[in-house]
Symmetry: none
Subunit: 193 residues, 4 copies
DNA sequence: GATGAATGAGAGTTCATTCAT
DNA sequence: CATGAATGAACTCTCATTCAT
C-alpha cells in the first residue's frame, strides 16, 4: 500500500519533468521552428542540463513526436466537447465552428503546435483522418478517395491560414479567423452539391 | 576602350556564374529545405569551391534572396503573357487559371521555389501584392485593408496546396490542382458579392 | 545478540550483491572492453540502478580491480589443485599443462578475464610473480632479475595467444592451445640449459 | 606547364598537413591508446582546429587506418633493405634478426605503431601475411593452414613483447629484445623439424 | 540500501565563413 | 576570380558520478 505510493512519486516526478521539458521544447520550436531548434536551447529553456533531456528523449525527433501526441490528445478532448453525432442535421457553419474554434484555441495556447504541424506528417495525417471522418458522416455518398482529397486540402488550408492567426492579435486575428472559416465554408459548400 | 569591353565580358561571365550557382542552390534547397541546406553542399552541387560562392554572395541568406528575386521575375514574365487588362470582363475561372497555371508551371520547373516560398516573407509579400492588385482591378469598391486580407489568404491557400501538387504526379497532381482552383473560386466568388 | 546476526545477514546480502554486480561488469567488459564499457551498461546488465553500483564501488576502476582480485583467487584455487611441490622432478610439459590448462579454463569460464588482463598491470604483475616463483623453484640457480624477465615474457606470451584461443572454438581452439604450449616449452627449455 | 606546378603546391600543402596530422595522431594514440584518444586532443597536438582534422579525415577510425597504411609501407621499405631471396640458405637467427630489428626500429621511431597494432585487425593481418610468406619460402612443405597458425602466433608473440621493449630503455630494452628473439627462435626451430 | 533523476564536462562532428595562395 | 585549407563556435549526444527521495 505504501509501496504503491512510492513508485508513483517517482513516476510523478518524471512525468512532471517530461511535461516541463515538452513545454520548453514547444517554446523553442515556436521561436525557432523545428529544424532550427537545438536540444541545448530546449535544455536551457527548461533550465536543465542537456543530459537531463536525453534521459527522457533519445533525440529531437522523439520530443517532437511526444509533443505531437500531446496535441492530438488535446484536440480530441477539445473537439469531443462540442461534437457528438450532430454532424448531420446541423448547418455547415456550426460544424466548422466546432472544428475550427477549439483547434485555434489549442494553437494559441500551445505555441509549439504550428511548427510541428508543418513538420510532422504524422500529426497532419491524424488531423486529416478526423476531418475525413466528419465529411464521411455528413456526406456519406461521396467517393472515399475524393473525400480524402478534400480532407487533405481542408487541413492544408487550415495550416496555411494558421500562421497569420498566430502572428496577429486582436481584431486582425479575428478577421483572419473569420476569413479562414469563410474559405472553408465556401469550399465545403461547393463540395456538398 | 578596352575597358568598356572587358568589364562586359566579365559581367557576362559573372552572370553566367551567378545563374549556375543559383541553380545549384535551388537544387539543394529543394532537396534539403532552406534551413538544412549547407553552403558546402551548394558549392559541391555547383562543382565550385566554397570560396567562390562567397565571391558572389555574402552569405546563405543572400543566395535565398537572389533566388527569390529570380523567381519573382519569372512569375512576372509568365503571368504577363496571358494577363493584360482583361481582368474585368472575364469570368473568375479564367482569371484564376491565368494566375494559377503559370505559377504552378514555374514551381514544377523550379524545385527551389517552394522551400523559398515557405521561408521568404519577402517573396510571399511580393506575390500578395500582385494578387492584391488584381483584386483591386476586378473589385475596385472593396476596402483596401480587407483586400489585403483576402490577398494574403489567397496566397496562403496557394502555398498550402502547392506541396501536395509538387509531391504528386499524373492524375493525382491534376486533382490537387483542380481542387486548388475550386477553393480559390469558391472563396473569391464569395468575396465579390 | 540480534546485532551479531543482522550484520551477518547484511554482509551476506552485500556479498551476493557484489558478486552479482561483478558478474554483470565481467559480461560488459567482455563484450565491450574495459575502456568502452559504461557504468550504466553494467547497471543495466545487473538490473540495478546506477546509484546502487556506486554504493559498492566508488568508480569504474574499482570494479575492475575487484574483478581482477576475484580472478586471482580463482587462479590460485585452480592451480593449487594440481601443483604442490612437484615442480621439481617432473617433465616441463607437465608443469606447463598444470599452469596453462586451468588458466585457460578460467578464461573460458570468465569472459571478463581477458579484457582485464590487458588492462590491469596489477593483475598481470601478480601472475608474473607466480610464474617467477615456479621458475625459482625449478631452476634455483637462475639470476633473479633474469628470472623476472623470463617470467614477464612468459606471461606476455600467454596473454598474446589467449585472445586467439578465446576467439575460436573446437579444433581451432585446441590448435591454438597446443601452439601456446609449444611456444612455452620451446622457450623455457631453452632457458633451463 | 605552370599549371602542373600550381595544383602540386596545393596538394603539397595538403599532404604536408596530412603528414602533420597523422604525426599528431600517432603521438596521442601512443600517449592514450586508440580508444581513449580524442579527436580534439589530436587537433590540439597538431595545433590545429578540430574542423581542420575533419577536412582530411571523416572520423577517428580513418585516421587510424591511414596511419596503419603508413606503417605498413614503412615496414615494407625497411624489411626490403635486408631481405631478398636469402631466406633459404641462411641461419634462422639471421632471418629473425632481419625481421625483428627493422620492425622494432620502426616501432621505436613511431610511437603510434603499438596502440594501432593492438587495435587494428587489418594491420595485424597484413603483418601475419608477410610472416606467412617467409615461412612458406623457408619451409615449403608445411601445410598452409598450419603455416597460418604459426604465423599468427609468431606475430602475437612479437606484439606481446613489444610493449615491454617500448616501455624500457637501455640495457633492459636490449634484454627484452634478445628475449623476444630467443622465443621466436626456439618456437620456429621447433617448427622446422 | 536502492532508486533514478540530475549533472556537466567533454566527445565527435558540422558548417558558415574567412583568407592565403 | 578561383581555390581549398583553416577556423571555431555550436550542435547532438554520452557517461561517470552525485544526490534527493
Amino acid at each position: 500500500m505504501v509501496e504503491t505510493v512510492k513508485p508513483r512519486r517517482r513516476q510523478a516526478r518524471g512525468e512532471r519533468r517530461i511535461a516541463q521539458l515538452l513545454d520548453a521544447a514547444a517554446k523553442v520550436f515556436a521561436a525557432e521552428g523545428y529544424v532550427a531548434a537545438t536540444m541545448n536551447a530546449v535544455a536551457a529553456a527548461a533550465e536543465v542540463s542537456p543530459g537531463t533531456l536525453y534521459q527522457f528523449f533519445p533525440n529531437k525527433e522523439s520530443m517532437a513526436e511526444a509533443l505531437a501526441e500531446q496535441y492530438l490528445d488535446a484536440l480530441s478532448v477539445a473537439q469531443a466537447r462540442g461534437e457528438g453525432a450532430e454532424v448531420l442535421g446541423v448547418p455547415l457553419d456550426d460544424v466548422i465552428n466546432r472544428m475550427v474554434d477549439p483547434a485555434i484555441e489549442i494553437c494559441l495556447a500551445n505555441p509549439g503546435f504550428e511548427p510541428l504541424f508543418s513538420w510532422s506528417d504524422r500529426l497532419r495525417t491524424a488531423v486529416v483522418e478526423r476531418v475525413d471522418d466528419i465529411i464521411a458522416r455528413r456526406v456519406p455518398e461521396i467517393d472515399p478517395s475524393r473525400r480524402r482529397l478534400i480532407a487533405t486540402v481542408t487541413v492544408r488550408i487550415f495550416a496555411a491560414v494558421l500562421p497569420q492567426i498566430l502572428a496577429t492579435t486582436g481584431r486582425e486575428q479575428l478577421e483572419y479567423t473569420r476569413e479562414l472559416k469563410r474559405v472553408l465554408r465556401a469550399y465545403l459548400l461547393d463540395i456538398s452539391d
